[in-house]
Symmetry: none
Subunit: 68 residues, 2 copies
């Protein structure tokens, strides 16, 4: 076939996440700074969020715990 991207997760822009939560993009950035959201930084410093992460948060799932 063609481009088969393996270990790449669908990333969303701040505007995307902001729309899904009905908040301002700046607010999403605030969540990332607060550590409430996993943010991947581009080479320019911009943030990109994982779709799975956002959807999980929207579903009402608190924080991901890997055992305790």
């Amino acid at each position: 076939m063609a481009t088969r991207i393996p270990e790449s997760e669908a990333l969303l822009t701040p505007a995307e996440v902001a729309t899904m939560f009905r908040v301002d993009p700046k607010t999403v950035t605030r969540w990332a700074k607060a550590g409430k959201l996993s943010a991947i930084r581009t080479l320019g410093g911009h943030r990109r969020y994982r779709e799975s992460e956002v959807r999980a948060l929207l579903a009402g799932i608190p924080h991901q715990r890997t055992g305790d």
Copy 2:
């Protein structure tokens, strides 16, 4: 943007719902706490209400029955 937003439901702020019902945002919060309204919480604790849900209630639809 280029990315397409997945399944996202239009959400309304407490002020929006309050205006639509001609009540105070505090009252809308009570409905959410009473389970009369589906509320999605932001990562900051604020509530967001589904537009479809609110519109259905405004349309005169009572509560969701689970078989009758």
